[in-house]
């Protein structure tokens, strides 16, 4: 299953970017529409509020203008009217729809004339001189009371005008009439208006209960803002008394401290923007889906499909198919990648072909070498076997020769002449030498044929060397040489190994040393080095030139051709020594500057009886070219 993480991420990013763009654009459009709409509504509402205020003011003025004439008439004349034409004032009241009761008082607050459509209220008060309306008019001001209720809950307001003679005209305004005016202020579908006084009391509302309950805007901070506004022109959003979210505006009623408030439900006020947001929402959704799907398609065609074919190409390469070519017809980046990919595949294929060829060649070579090695090994084995057989076959007659010669020398067949004894002695010596040579060859061939059986037993290296010293001391004495054995203090008392073979090695090296040393000393010493121990044989003999040091361990070699004649020996000693040491897991090296004597150092693994069990057989020290 191909991993589509990148594709998913890109699509997700695309969706996010598209959504953010759509939301941003949508929000901007919405806010713009909303603001425009709000400005429009605020304007229209403020207009409605002003219009309503004018209508209320107009109706008050209209209701009371007709009454003002009463102030122009002399007080005494008014009294006469009251006496002789009581209907006059009734007619005056009838003509003014908003007025329920009317009275004219003199400067002392005494009623000159009064009349009304219902039970007198103002005319029945005995506190006129102390009443706010009268005291206001004596200060020369028009007075308008807050809304009063009769016990029957008929709402009225007292309006009073000063008269030139110090008296006043007072009337009760029918608030129901004013409310009708207010209620007639309508705009839009839900628009309505009401009137509040400067204390925030609702004094006129299309729902009469609000005024009768003396509802107040107190505790509604949004509306209280109206009262804080000095010119009473305000607009804002709030929850109205019916619990609806509304936008409202206010305007003052001239000549009063009343205020008209117009309200419109937010639902209506923001109808257009609500519709816009719905339209925008659906549009944006469709647009978003279209953009996302379209872009995903394009991305798929341009990027993901080519990438997928690159991927499948790579997969086929991984499975070993180099012949597959990725489509690379296009000239764009993807096309270039495909080209590069195909080039890479061609090169990979060539490289693969070369590798196959090389590995075939190598296999042939290995095969050949194996055969050659086999042949060589067979030859070597045959040689060793041959040598062993030959030596054996040679030793038998030779032993017979030596035996019979010794019998003759012992005088078994009678006394021998000096000439005969001399000749027989030579034959004996030569035979013995030949037997030594044959024994050496037999040894060597045994070792090379791998037929040497090493024993692994505890032995004392000190005792071994002391014994050798005793045996060979005579050779030193013969040549008047200093012969010493030196022991390393750290050398353990007991070591594991094949004492006989080690003895053979030491004797061989000492024999060589005595052979090539005419004066001075021969020293054999031991040293302990980490996990090995060394047998060192030093002499002050002729030394070994540097150019032959590499070959002295090869069979039938001595330092110089001439030396064999001079010093004797088969030239097999060092070769046997070296092969023995290697077989024991050790090595041998020679230090010599060519004239100040030679130093042979034999290094053997340090195996004591104590650690013997744990130690693997130490055959890793042998680093020597075996030679054939």
């Amino acid at each position: 299953m191909p991993n589509r993480r990148l594709q998913r991420q890109l699509i997700a990013l695309l969706i996010v970017v598209t959504l953010v763009s759509i939301v941003a654009v949508g929000a901007s459009v919405f806010i713009f529409v909303r603001q425009t709409e709000q400005e429009a509504w605020q304007g229209r509402q403020a207009e409605a509020a002003v219009n309503g205020a004018q209508r209320v003011e107009g109706s008050i003025t209209q209701s009371t203008n007709g009454l003002l004439g009463l102030g122009d008439i002399d007080a005494d004349l008014v009294r006469l009217f009251a006496t002789f034409s009581p209907d006059a004032i009734s007619n005056l009241i009838e003509r003014n729809r908003g007025v329920i009761e009317l009275l004219r008082v003199d400067a002392d607050g005494e009623i000159l004339i009064s009349g009304g459509k219902d039970e007198p209220v103002l005319a029945n008060t005995f506190t006129i001189p102390q009443s706010s309306w009268f005291l206001s008019t004596t200060d020369g001001e028009r007075y308008l009371s807050d809304v009063q209720l009769t016990p029957d809950q008929l709402p009225y307001a007292i309006i009073a005008f000063p008269v030139n003679d110090g008296g006043a005209i007072a009337a009760r305004l029918d608030m129901l009439f004013i409310w009708e005016v207010v209620a007639s202020i309508q705009f839009g579908e839900t628009g309505s208006a009401y009137v509040i006084d400067s204390d925030g009391n609702i004094i006129g509302h299309s729902n009469v209960d609000y005024a009768i309950r003396r509802e107040n805007i107190a505790g509604r901070p949004e509306l209280e803002a109206i009262l804080e506004d000095t010119d009473r022109r305000w607009s804002g959003s709030y929850e109205n008394f019916q619990g609806e979210d509304v936008v409202g505006s206010s305007a003052p009623i001239e000549g009063t401290d009343w205020i008209v408030v117009t309200e419109l439900t937010e639902a209506e006020a923001f109808q257009t923007s609500q519709r816009a947001i719905r339209f925008l929402g659906v549009g944006a959704l469709l647009f978003g889906v279209a953009v996302t799907v379209g872009t995903a398609r394009i991305l798929n065609t341009l990027v993901f499909s080519p990438v997928a074919s690159l991927q499948s190409g790579a997969d086929r390469i991984a499975q070993g198919d180099y012949t597959h070519k990725v489509p690379a017809k296009r000239e764009d980046e993807i096309g270039q990648v495909a080209h590069a990919f195909n080039n890479m595949m061609t090169q990979l294929q060539e490289r693969e072909n070369q590798l196959v060829k090389q590995s075939q060649d190598l296999a042939v070579e290995v095969e050949e070498r194996k055969r050659a090695e086999k042949i060589a090994n067979q030859a070597s084995a045959m040689k060793s076997a041959f040598l062993a057989n030959v030596s054996h076959e040679l030793r038998t007659p030779l032993n017979a020769i030596i035996g019979y010669v010794e019998l003759l020398l012992l005088g078994m067949d009678g006394e021998l002449t000096d000439s005969q004894r001399d000749k027989l002695t030579r034959v004996n010596v030569s035979s013995l030498r030949l037997l030594g040579i044959i024994n050496d060859i037999l040894d060597l061939s045994r070792i090379e044929a791998g037929r040497v059986d090493l024993v692994d037993e505890p032995f004392s290296p000190r005792a071994m060397l002391e014994s050798i010293h005793k045996q060979m001391e005579s050779l030193a004495t013969e040549k008047n040489l200093n012969f010493q054995v030196q022991h390393d203090e750290q050398l353990p008392e007991q070591l594991m190994g094949d004492q006989k073979r080690i003895e053979q090695v030491v004797v061989n090296l000492l024999s060589n040393a005595f052979k090539f040393t005419e004066q001075g000393s021969v020293v054999v010493s031991t040293r302990v080095r980490d996990y090995t121990w060394q047998l060192v044989v030093e002499d002050t003999g002729i030394g070994i030139p540097a150019h032959v040091r590499e070959t002295i361990f090869e069979p039938f070699r001595q330092a110089e051709e001439g030396s064999r004649r001079r010093f004797g020996g088969t030239g097999l000693g060092l070769s046997i020594t070296r092969d023995l040491i290697l077989t024991m897991g050790g090595n041998i090296r020679v230090d010599s500057n060519g004239k100040d004597g030679s130093t042979f150092v034999v290094t053997l693994p340090l195996n004591t009886p104590e650690n013997h069990q744990d130690e693997p057989k130490p055959d890793t020290l042998a680093v020597g070219d075996e030679g054939v």
Binding site: V121, F126, L135, D152, A183
Partner: protein
């Protein structure tokens, strides 16, 4: 379109459906007034209905009450005279009433709405009111008394009782001269002082007989006429032939109001109690038990006829034409009044000294 007047007037008395009712009410409120100024039965009825106990605290004078309010003592409902309401409201010691909680305020007579001591009725609800007049022993005074002037009549020298009450007595002197009892005009007050010094010749102070009522000296004939109130009439008229005259120059109206101090702990409960007290049937009980006139016109049909028709308690409107309300004086005016009264009192003492020397 509009609801008609009949619809609006439908529900008459019960105001339980108050829009601003809050679920939790305190279990008591503190009422502060004169001794025996509110019938216990009314308080009990309120407690029974609402569970709110009315704690009744009393004062001896309203000056004392004002002083306590100023000192931060807390009361929820205080009875306060007309002329003292603006003293408190000017000092912001009164709370504005929330009329949403007092729908029965529509029962208050138009005569007691928006009056000068509380021009928009923002702080006070009128409780009781009454007149100041002349009590006359008609068996001892032959002429028909119609004017304050009778107090100065030499015929009755030594038999006229007045109170050591500066505002009322100076007010009467001012009214007998045709001036307002609330005058702060120095010339008018000088003139009134002259009238007062004349009055001294004919009158005696009633406090020497009884601290609270003019009834005893009237009953035993020590005085033949006295400045007094409806209460004095009720105390004396069964024992003597007493007529209560409201002089034609105008009576001096007194009035007590309920106010809520701005530091009240239970304003809402106080308003609830006010609305209760303004129920017609409760106002009727108040009038019947205290013999005060109440302002609740809706209560009038329910009040016992012997009281509602008693012109001493409920004087006819024609007698009230020139009624005057005592208003608070400005600081300067108060100084003038105090000065006039001091000079009046010292002239009395001088006379007393002269008398004792003679």
């Amino acid at each position: 379109m509009l609801i008609t007047a009949c619809d609006i007037g439908n529900d008459d008395s019960e105001e339980d459906s108050d829009p601003t009712t809050t679920p939790e009410l305190a279990d008591q409120l503190v009422y502060y007034s004169w001794e025996e100024d509110l019938p216990q039965s009314v308080m009990d009825a309120f407690t029974e209905e609402t569970g709110i106990e009315v704690v009744y605290l009393t004062y001896v004078s309203q000056e004392e009450a004002i002083e306590n309010i100023r000192n931060g003592e807390t009361y929820d409902l205080v009875v306060m005279g007309n002329e003292r309401v603006p003293i408190l409201s000017r000092e912001n010691l009164l709370a504005e009433l929330d009329y949403r909680n007092i729908p029965n305020s529509r029962n208050i007579s138009p005569s007691f709405r928006n009056l000068s001591y509380d021009p928009e009725s923002k702080f006070s609800i009128p409780y009781s009111w009454g007149t100041t007049g002349i009590l006359v022993r008609i068996d001892l005074v032959e002429e028909e008394v119609t004017s304050w002037d009778v107090l100065w009549d030499p015929t009755y020298t030594g038999f006229v009782g007045i109170w050591d009450d500066p505002r009322t007595t100076i007010g009467i002197a001012l009214m007998s001269l045709g001036y307002s009892p609330n005058s702060e005009n120095p010339a008018e007050l000088e003139e009134a002082l002259g009238k007062l010094q004349e009055l001294r010749a004919t009158s005696v102070f009633l406090e020497q007989f009884d601290d609270y009522t003019s009834a005893p000296p009237l009953i035993d004939g020590t005085v033949h006429m006295a400045i007094g109130y409806a209460y004095d009439v009720l105390e004396s008229r069964d024992s003597a032939q007493i007529q209560y005259v409201l002089p034609e120059e105008g009576t001096i109206l007194w009035g007590d109001n309920w106010v809520i101090p701005s530091n009240a702990a239970h304003k809402r409960e106080a308003e609830l109690f006010l609305d209760f007290l303004l129920r017609p049937e409760i106002s009727a009980i108040l009038s019947e038990e205290t013999y005060y006139a109440v302002v609740n016109t809706e209560a009038y049909p329910l009040i016992d006829e012997s009281i509602i028709n008693d012109t001493v308690i409920y004087p006819p409107a024609e007698d009230m034409v020139n009624a005057q309300i005592l208003l608070p004086l400005s600081d300067d005016g108060k100084a003038l009044h105090d000065d006039i009264w001091a000079r009046f009192m010292s002239s009395i003492q001088e006379e007393d000294v002269e008398e004792s020397q003679e």
